[in-house]
C-alpha cells in the first residue's frame, strides 16, 4: 500500500527582486488595498521565469512555479538542479521556514531539516549543551535527547570535544555533531541540504550509510539535495530535477542524474572564439578560441572515431620560462580520466604571440559519457598554474550511429582483445 508522507500541490513562490526602500511602499499599499476589498493580490499575476543569467523585465520572479510531487514513506528523494534552480527555496518551504505564495504542502510526521552547518548552534555553549538545544529546536524533548546523547556523541566522533564550547570546533566537527543530532532524532521526514560537503570522506560515507539505514530500516523518508551526483546515485531511490523554478523531470535516480548531466553538457558549445578584450584569461595569457571535433567532423563525438581538441591562446606577457598547456579530462563522476599536455613537446609556448595547440585522442579509448575539461597553463618555474579555468570545455562521447555498441561501463575503454 502506498503511504504518501509528503504531498506538494501546485506550490509556487514569488520573490521580489531589488532593494526594499521607499519605492516598494506603493506596491505594498496597492496590495493591501486589493486585499481589503477581497480581491486577489495583483502582483501574483505577474512575474517571470527564474532564469538567473538573463535580464528580466519584471521585478517579480517565480523562484518556484507550480511544483507538484509526492513522496512515499521510506523513499529517499534526491533534488537536483543548478545553482538558483529553486532547490533551497523548495526545502525552505518544506521546513516551514517561509510560506508559499500559492499552493499547499501536506506532511505527515515530524520534519527535521539540516539546512546548513550547525543550525542553531550557540558558539558559547559546549557541544553537549548544544546537542540538547539543537534537539529541542528540532522538536525533541529533553528526555528523548538524554536517551540518545551517547549514540549522538559516538556517531559524531567528537567525544573529546563534547564539553568544549562549540566556537572552538572546526567546521567539519560542527557538521558531524549537527548531522548526528538530526539523524538520531528519528524524524519521519529528514531534509538534508548540501551539508555533507564540509565533512571528510570517512564521515560522508558514514552519513550516507546512516541515511540509508534511516530510510530502509526505520521506514523514514529522506529528502536530499546535493551537487554530488555520486551521492545522489548511491543514496536516492527517486529524483526530481528543477530548472529555473520548474520541475522538469522526475524518475529513478540514476536515469535522472544521467539526463541532468547530459542536459548540462549541452550548454557548453563545441566551438567558440572570443575577441581579445572579452576572452577568458588574465593579463598574462588569454584563451581566444577552441574547437572540438571528431575524425569525420560530423558534429557528433563517437566512440569509434578519433577526437580532436584545438585550443587557440595568446600570451599577453612574454616569459623567460617554458610555458605549457594542459587539459585535465574528468568524467561525470568527477574522476580524472587523463591529462592532455604539451610538456612532452620539445618546446613550450613562451613567446608573445598567438599559438594554437591541438590534441588528438585515438578512437576506441574514451568510453561513453560526459566529460569536462579543466584548462591549465603552467610555467616551468612557477609553483602553480598561471591560468586555470574549471570546466572550460566539455563533450559527450556517444555510441556509434552505424554499428551496434553496448555500454559496458568503466572509466576507460581499453582496446582489448579476446584470447582464443
Amino acid at each position: 500500500m502506498k503511504n504518501i508522507v509528503l504531498k506538494v500541490e501546485n506550490v509556487s513562490k514569488q520573490y521580489r527582486l531589488g532593494v526594499f526602500g521607499t519605492g516598494t511602499l506603493s506596491h505594498d499599499l496597492n496590495r493591501w488595498w486589493h486585499l481589503i476589498r477581497g480581491k486577489e493580490d495583483p502582483y501574483l499575476k505577474i512575474g517571470e521565469n527564474n532564469d538567473r543569467s538573463s535580464k528580466g523585465e519584471s521585478e517579480y520572479v517565480w523562484a518556484l512555479k507550480d511544483i507538484n510531487f509526492e513522496v512515499e514513506q521510506g523513499e529517499v528523494l534526491g533534488v537536483i538542479g543548478k545553482n538558483g534552480a529553486g532547490k533551497s527555496t523548495l526545502l525552505k518551504l518544506l521546513s516551514n521556514v517561509t510560506s508559499p505564495s500559492k499552493g499547499k504542502i501536506t506532511m505527515k510526521g515530524r520534519v527535521a531539516s539540516l539546512l546548513e552547518v550547525g543550525t542553531g548552534f550557540h558558539p558559547e555553549l559546549t557541544g553537549r549543551e548544544n546537542v540538547f538545544l539543537n534537539g529541542a529546536i528540532l522538536g525533541m524533548s529533553k528526555n528523548e535527547t538524554k536517551t540518545k546523547i551517547d549514540d549522538i556523541v559516538e556517531f559524531s566522533g567528537c567525544e573529546r570535544y563534547i564539553d568544549t564550547p562549540v566556537k572552538r570546533y572546526s567546521s567539519g566537527m560542527k557538521v558531524r555533531l549537527a548531522f548526528a543530532v538530526a539523524a538520531f532524532l528519528e524524524p519521519e521526514i529528514l531534509i538534508v541540504d548540501e551539508v555533507l560537503a564540509v565533512g571528510d570522506a570517512e564521515f560522508q560515507k558514514k552519513a550516507i550509510g546512516k541515511m540509508q539505514d534511516v530510510s530502509k530500516q526505520g521506514g523514514r523518508t529522506v529528502l536530499f539535495v546535493s551537487h554530488n551526483m555520486n551521492a545522489i546515485k548511491t543514496l536516492c531511490t527517486r529524483c526530481i530535477v528543477l530548472k529555473n523554478g520548474e520541475l522538469v523531470a522526475s524518475g529513478p535516480a540514476d536515469v535522472m542524474v544521467q539526463e541532468y548531466l547530459n542536459a548540462e553538457q549541452k550548454d557548453l558549445p563545441m566551438e567558440n572564439s572570443w575577441d581579445l578584450a572579452k576572452a577568458p584569461g588574465n593579463d598574462v595569457v588569454k584563451v581566444i578560441g577552441y574547437k572540438i571535433y571528431s575524425g569525420s567532423d560530423s558534429g557528433r563525438i563517437e566512440v569509434k572515431e578519433d577526437l580532436m581538441i584545438k585550443i587557440k591562446f595568446q600570451n599577453i606577457q612574454e616569459s623567460a620560462n617554458r610555458r605549457d598547456v594542459s587539459l585535465h579530462v574528468h568524467n561525470s563522476d568527477n574522476i580524472l580520466v587523463c591529462v592532455l599536455s604539451s610538456v612532452f613537446m620539445e618546446e613550450g609556448y613562451s613567446k608573445k604571440d598567438i599559438s594554437e595547440i591541438g590534441f588528438k585522442l585515438p578512437k576506441n579509448e574514451m568510453n561513453l559519457g560526459n566529460y569536462s575539461c579543466t584548462l591549465r597553463i603552467i610555467e616551468s618555474k612557477a609553483n602553480s598554474s598561471i591560468l586555470k579555468i574549471n570546466d572550460f570545455i566539455g563533450f559527450t562521447v556517444l555510441a556509434s550511429s552505424s554499428e551496434v555498441f553496448y555500454d559496458i561501463g568503466g572509466v576507460y575503454l581499453p582496446n582489448f582483445e579476446i584470447l582464443e
Partner: protein, 285 residues
C-alpha cells in the same frame, strides 16, 4: 510526541490563528533558550553574574547625586538611594524586555531562516531570562532595604506589597507586547528600529523612575504632567513605591486596573501582529 502529526503549509495565515498547542509542545525548547541566555551572557567574564548588580547600583548612585543632591528632589522619610533603586530595578526589567524583543526577527534571522519552531518561543524566552535577572536584582535590593531599615530610612512596608506580581506582570508583558509590535513592524521597513533605544531612554524620564508622580504634577507643564499621570509604567512604578515605602498610603488596587487593561491590549495586538509576520518575514528582512 510519538503520535503522527500532520502539518499543512499554505500561503496566508488568518489573523487569529494562534497555535498555542504547538507552543506547549515546544516548552522544552523555551526552557533551553532561557538557560542558554542566562548562562551565556556572562561567559568568559570574571565577575560573572555580579554584572547584574553593578549596573543598577551605579545608576542609582548617579541618579541620587544628580536628582536628589543637585536638583533637590525630596523623597521624604525614605533614603533617596533606596527610593531610586526600587524604581530602577523594575524599570530595567521593562526596558530589557522591550529592547530584547524589539529585534527578535532581525537578531534571529539566521536560525529562523533554517529551521521551524514556534517563533514566539524567542521573545518569551527573553522575558523569562530577564525574570532571572530581575530576581537577582530584587535580592540585592532587599539587602539594601534591610540595611536602611535598621538605619530607619526605609519608610514603612504596606501589606499591599502582595500585589507585586501584578507589577512584574505589567512590566514584562508591556515590554513583550511593545517589543513584538516593533519587531513585526521592522521586518520590512526598518525605520522604527532607530527609535527604540532612544525612545526607551526618553520614556524613562517620563515614567516616574526617580521622582514621585505628585512632583511631576506640581512642576511639569500640564501636557507633560498628564502624560506622566496616564503613563501606565509611571503609575506602576509609583504604586510599587507606595506599597514598599509608604505603607500603601494613597494606593488602591483600582489604580492598577488602567495599566493592566493597557498591557493586555498592547500584548494581544503584539501577539497578533507577531503571529501574522512570522510566516514569511524571512523573505523581506
Amino acid at each position: 510526541m510519538s503520535e503522527i502529526r500532520e502539518t499543512v503549509i499554505t500561503p496566508k495565515k488568518g489573523l487569529f490563528e494562534l497555535n498555542l498547542k504547538q507552543l506547549w509542545q515546544y516548552r522544552d525548547l523555551l526552557f533551553q533558550f532561557v538557560t542558554r541566555d542566562v548562562i551565556t551572557i556572562y561567559k568568559q567574564t570574571i565577575l560573572g553574574p555580579l554584572w547584574y548588580l553593578i549596573q543598577p547600583l551605579f545608576t542609582s548612585v548617579i541618579f541620587t547625586l544628580i536628582f536628589n543632591n543637585i536638583a533637590g528632589i525630596q523623597t521624604g522619610i525614605v533614603n533617596a538611594f533606596l527610593f531610586n533603586l526600587a524604581g530602577i530595578v523594575v524599570w530595567n526589567y521593562f526596558a530589557d524586555c522591550i529592547n530584547g524583543t524589539a529585534d527578535t526577527f532581525k537578531k534571529n534571522e539566521n536560525i529562523f531562516g533554517k529551521v521551524y519552531f514556534p517563533r514566539l518561543i524567542m521573545p518569551l524566552s527573553v522575558i523569562l531570562s530577564n525574570l532571572v535577572k530581575l530576581a537577582i536584582q530584587i535580592i540585592i535590593f532587599l539587602c539594601f532595604y534591610i540595611f536602611f531599615f535598621f538605619k530607619g530610612e526605609a519608610g514603612q512596608l504596606g501589606w499591599e506589597i502582595i500585589y507585586f506580581p501584578i507589577v512584574v506582570f505589567i512590566m514584562g508583558f508591556m515590554g513583550l507586547g511593545l517589543g513584538m509590535i516593533i519587531s513585526s513592524l521592522t521586518t520590512k521597513y526598518r525605520d522604527l528600529i532607530f527609535l527604540v533605544t532612544f525612545g526607551v531612554q526618553l520614556l524613562m524620564y517620563l515614567s516616574a523612575v526617580m521622582y514621585p508622580i505628585t512632583l511631576a504634577q506640581e512642576k511639569l507643564p500640564s501636557q507633560l504632567a498628564s502624560f506622566v499621570t496616564y503613563n501606565p509604567i509611571a503609575i506602576v512604578i509609583d504604586s510599587l513605591r507606595k506599597m514598599t515605602f509608604f505603607n500603601g498610603a494613597n494606593f488602591s488596587i483600582m489604580d492598577l486596573v488602567f495599566p493592566v487593561t493597557i498591557t493586555l491590549i498592547v500584548f494581544v495586538s503584539g501577539l497578533l501582529m507577531f503571529n501574522k509576520t512570522e510566516k514569511s518575514f524571512i523573505d523581506t528582512i
